[in-house]
Structure formats: structure tokens, C-alpha cells
Amino acid sequence: MMGCHDIRQLLPARLEELTPLEARARALHVAGCARCAAEAASYSRLVQTLATMANLEATPPDGTVERILVAIGRRRVRATDPRVMVAAGAGGALVATVMVARALRQRRRVPAAAAPGRARAALPSVVSAGQTAVLARLK
């Protein structure tokens, strides 16, 4: 039978962390040694309390969620979701069209005699046929 010195090295272990032989030796010793039994119980309670720490949470720095969401959004747009890329591209084109239309309206408010043909000249050369049609509807 193993003595206290040998058994003490096994006391910090949970049962499943011991070999069957070690587990049996520890159980036999602890059954007859009050001091080692108290030590074993103390370790058991320590482990139980450590497990409760999983229910505790630290406070992350301010803005952590926002940074994560931005990072996820960038990743999805770049690589994982083609629909998001299409949506982002379409959205950008729509914004550009509206901005051009507003610029066009502002130009048209200028008296024609003061700036003849200026509104048409202000249109960017990259405006597509489709966007021109949208512009025509906005006029």
C-alpha cells in the first residue's frame, strides 16, 4: 500500500486523470487516512469552484462589438458572399446616379443665358446608357 508521500502527488488529480491503478491506490489510502481525505476533498472543492468561473465575464474594451462587426462585414463583402458584392456595387451605382442627377438639377437652375449647355457639360463621361435613362426619368 502506498504511503502519504506517494499519495499526495495524486491528490490534485481528478478521478478521470488517474490510471485505474492510481485511482484504486488513492481510494484505498484516502479511506484510511483522514488527513489525505481532507486534502482530496479540498482539491475537489477547488475544482468545483474553478468550474463556476465559466459563468463569469470580463468587460471587453469599448467598441469591441463594432470592431468585430466591421471586420466581419469587410470579410463577407470581399470573399464570402457574392450577393453582398453585387448589392454593394449596385448600391454604389445608384448613389452615383443620384449624385449626378442632383448636380444636374443644380446646374439647370442657373439661367440658360448665363451658362448655355453647362448642365450637359457637367455630366461625367462615365455615365452609362442605363444611368442616362435613369437621369431622364429624374428630370
Partner: protein, 202 residues
Amino acid sequence: MEVDRELVEAAQAGDRWALEELVRRTHRSVYTCALRLVGNPDDAADVTQDVYLRVVRKLGGFRHEASFATWLNRVTTNVAMSSLKRRTRRIAVEGAMVPLETRDPAPDPSERAEAVLLARRLEKLVAGLPEGQRQVLVLRDVYGQSTDEVATAMGLTPGAVKVRLFRARERLKAELGATEGGPCQGQVVNLAGRRRASGRRS
């Protein structure tokens, strides 16, 4: 960490709102786990962000064989360990932990105060362990990973994990006893007993 399966499935199906809600519900747990493993708030915040980048990539492959919380904990462990391997400069852990709050506070204010007090003292003692001991203890005893899982995550043999684990528990028990001026049974016994009695999940 409570996460509905429906929410996870919606996020897997591409629902962006569900994914954002998943982040909002879980980021504190992820940050806390990262903080316990890497030992300082700045690195923990970086790890937390990297965890969700990996989650977005891997979520489609999650088959609900384990709980989402368990899966997320494994992802966090892997990202944190990768981060530590890349890190060349070690930052002192002492004093780096931030105060913890109870997510599931006890209903009785005095019991809650006791739980918070004990948790803060334990967190400080755990944070003061040597890095290798702290990591195996956190993964095994706080998050319930198996010895083999911890060994795989840390690139150690199961035997080496057990050696670190036993030393960490020995040291923690001795220090916990020392801070209380006697054996460590006192409040540890009470808290564990109350948790069991009230049926709370540990």
C-alpha cells in the same frame, strides 16, 4: 453563454442580423476566455476579433454535434494559442486582468457579493500562475476541456498537461488558503454548494 440553435442556424443560412446577434450575445464570453489564456486585454481584444473572422469562415461547417458554446470555445482556444505562438514579446500578466462581473448573478445580494469577491480573488490567483500552468488550468478546469483536447490545443503530451495541471492546482490551493489565512474550504465550499442546490449550470 446561452445561444439558441435557431439563431445559429439562421446565421449559417446567411442571415446577417442573426450573425450580428450571435456576436453580441457571445463576445463577452469569447473575450473573457481569450483574456484568461493570453493574459492581457489588448491581445485578448485582437484574439476576440480574429475568433469571429474564423467563425464566419467556419460556421457553415458547424454540424451541431457539440453545443455552439463548446465549438466557439474550441475556436477561441485555437486562435488564442496561434496568437501566443506568433507573439515574441511576453507581457507581464500580473495586474492585467480586468474586474469580472457575474453574468448569472445570485439572487441574494449578499450571496452575489460573496460570489463576486471569491471570483475576483480566484481570477487574480489564476492570472498569477505561470503561463503554461494557467492555460491548462483554464482550459481544463474552467472550460471543461478534456486532457487530450488541452494537449492537442497546446501541442503537448497528455502527460505534460497533467503535470502542469497538478502543479497549478497545488499552487492555487496553497495560495487560496494563504489569502484566507487558513484552509481553503470556507467560501469555496459554500459557493459550490449553493450553485448545486439552486440547480445552476456550472
